[in-house]
Symmetry: C2
Subunit: 410 residues, 2 copies
Amino acid sequence: MSSFHLKSLEEVLEKYITNDEQLKEIKRLLYGRSDDNKLELPEEAKNLGSKHGFDIQGYRFTAKSECIRLPRIVRIGAIQNSIVLPTSEPVIKQREAIWQKVQVMIKAAALANVNIICLQEAWSRSSLVLRSLSKMYFKCLLSFLLTAMPFAFCTREKFPWCEFSEGAAEGPTTKMLQELAKAYNMVIISPILERDTNHSDTIWNTAVIISNRGQYLGKHRKNHIPRVGDFNESTYYMEGNTGHPVFETVFGHIGVNICYGRHHPQNWMMFGINGAEIVFNPSATVGSLSEPLWPIEARNAAIANSYFTVAINRVGSEEFPNKFTSGDGNEPHTTFGPFYGSSYITAPDSSRTPSLSRDRDGLLIAEIDLNLCRQVKDFWGFPMTQRLDLYANSLQHATKLDFKPQIVRE
Amino acid sequence: MSSFHLKSLEEVLEKYITNDEQLKEIKRLLYGRSDDNKLELPEEAKNLGSKHGFDIQGYRFTAKSECIRLPRIVRIGAIQNSIVLPTSEPVIKQREAIWQKVQVMIKAAALANVNIICLQEAWSRSSLVLRSLSKMYFKCLLSFLLTAMPFAFCTREKFPWCEFSEGAAEGPTTKMLQELAKAYNMVIISPILERDTNHSDTIWNTAVIISNRGQYLGKHRKNHIPRVGDFNESTYYMEGNTGHPVFETVFGHIGVNICYGRHHPQNWMMFGINGAEIVFNPSATVGSLSEPLWPIEARNAAIANSYFTVAINRVGSEEFPNKFTSGDGNEPHTTFGPFYGSSYITAPDSSRTPSLSRDRDGLLIAEIDLNLCRQVKDFWGFPMTQRLDLYANSLQHATKLDFKPQIVRE
């Protein structure tokens, strides 16, 4: 990786490509549209961003006007974040600052009339650490909270990390967000570490969906679990058992493909088959591992399934109290990251927003017309030409122990 | 679309981004590696390109050295092309020029030690037109050969286009290429319009695979057929019935995903499940329709399936004798295009070559180590975490007439 720090690809393109026509053509090739089609956002929302140090970007995706269906215009949002306070502050203040920041970002989204917001994968942990940990962990927490809300699976330690988990329907994070959802008339997707006390205290990587009336609407558990590099998540929880639920909200049919599931096109596909119009992909992934894959996968899913996708990644590096190894032969170390942010939204016609920055908190908003999904289906015909019966049969064969691949030899 | 003509994205980036470190970081983000890793090609091959007016570009993808397996280094190639002679020349000379050009390009590939070459979708037609057409078509052919080898499905006319078809195993194109394959010790993938006289004279969009010993190894028929814009292909042939064959050649296990099949991740997936190490995607697609999708789909397939992909598109515009409409409400017209070239190769680790140009003939070569496929599988674990049983069952349900999507309501 280069030592040069690049804030975002777009920033460099805008800086260097001074010929407007060429820049437009490059944008068409890279983002599927030559015009950013920026969304004007309310001053109060922007002021909150300036005051609290997070970027706010808004874009618009339009659809054709139809005779029978009215436009179904909604605003969707993605939040990428880390902490604000230095570790020299008391931990309790740090915790409050983290909670306050996400609440402020959600408030900014509300001011910008966002209807559905999705937080990043496992966003809510640090507060729970602080509640559940005894004093003996206090000192090491001081260092790990340096960069906040750790994606602790790199450590392969069960304690204290397993204590982060909470109930999906009845946990404190859900309860807190239910209040906000109701107050702001906003659907909130809250990815947490779930504890299922009803099934032998098992832990899951779960997204909780809260309706705009503040009701617990349901949950989805991460379907595909990584075993790669620092992402030793299968040490903590197993492959999700909730299928591919699509949640019918007043603002559209939504699904959640959690993190590593974005590498599996068949996972995206089932959300489409179940009728999703928007699929959120809350993630936690680091530069050296996945950055060149990032702009490809969620965008390909939007294309292949004729729905909107929202790819969300956290920012910053994370420091842990004990050394760990990364399965790459390198020295034991305590830092995990950097997570490269770069959250972005793609429309079913393949056009996409620029990315949020690689290193700053940000709120990304898109105003979309859900009618575009069906219009793109009618235009491209991907669902019609999918041949599901062929693949249902092929996969049935492929899963058999005595499966013989279709190989042609000379 | 901008009126500005951009030869390739890479050309503009190289021109404007003068800071080396920034250019490297941009390349890492866009192509998955900061270094082009160019392959030095023999002078004779390059001279052929200069003399005959086609670009040659070569790149290298390496793999880790293993203890038990030796490196399996092969060179793969892609050809994108149009005709050379103006239509003022006699048609017979034009035909000869087209044949000669592709033969010269294959020869250049042979000089560069290419082991497997793939031609563009339906590359071989014009010669057949000339043989099969009577004099009454001669005049209109003069105009249509202006840009050579038409992708004639935009016309929805059955005559004379259906006469282009030929036998897969015994057709003249296959026979001609068998000689070259044997002479150059090269596997050749030849996408043609196939006539199946054994099954009621049906027509198929087919790729013929010829072994390095000049043997007809087999064929694959296009699995997914478009019905979009000018691509009225379902007027001519149906969805392929050959499954997802993987051809075991001495230079690796190869599959062919023809054109529109690249929009369907499940199609790519089955080639992977059957053991493909390289999947070629011979295509014919035009700028206004698909250009922003082009760099996404074949690359996503390489990532998701841990194999190499080779995306090939033709260049130029095509002129037809009779007016046709494009299903978009616009005036009837006679021109189809431009096809935007931009052929490129992606490795299983997501790194890719720059594209061939958007408007010139080109030969793209990559030296690859096939061992990279399994190394990436071991690293990322995508096949292991695929959960095929889940999807086999889900798709079985989804194909039922009384299928109930998994929808959660408040």
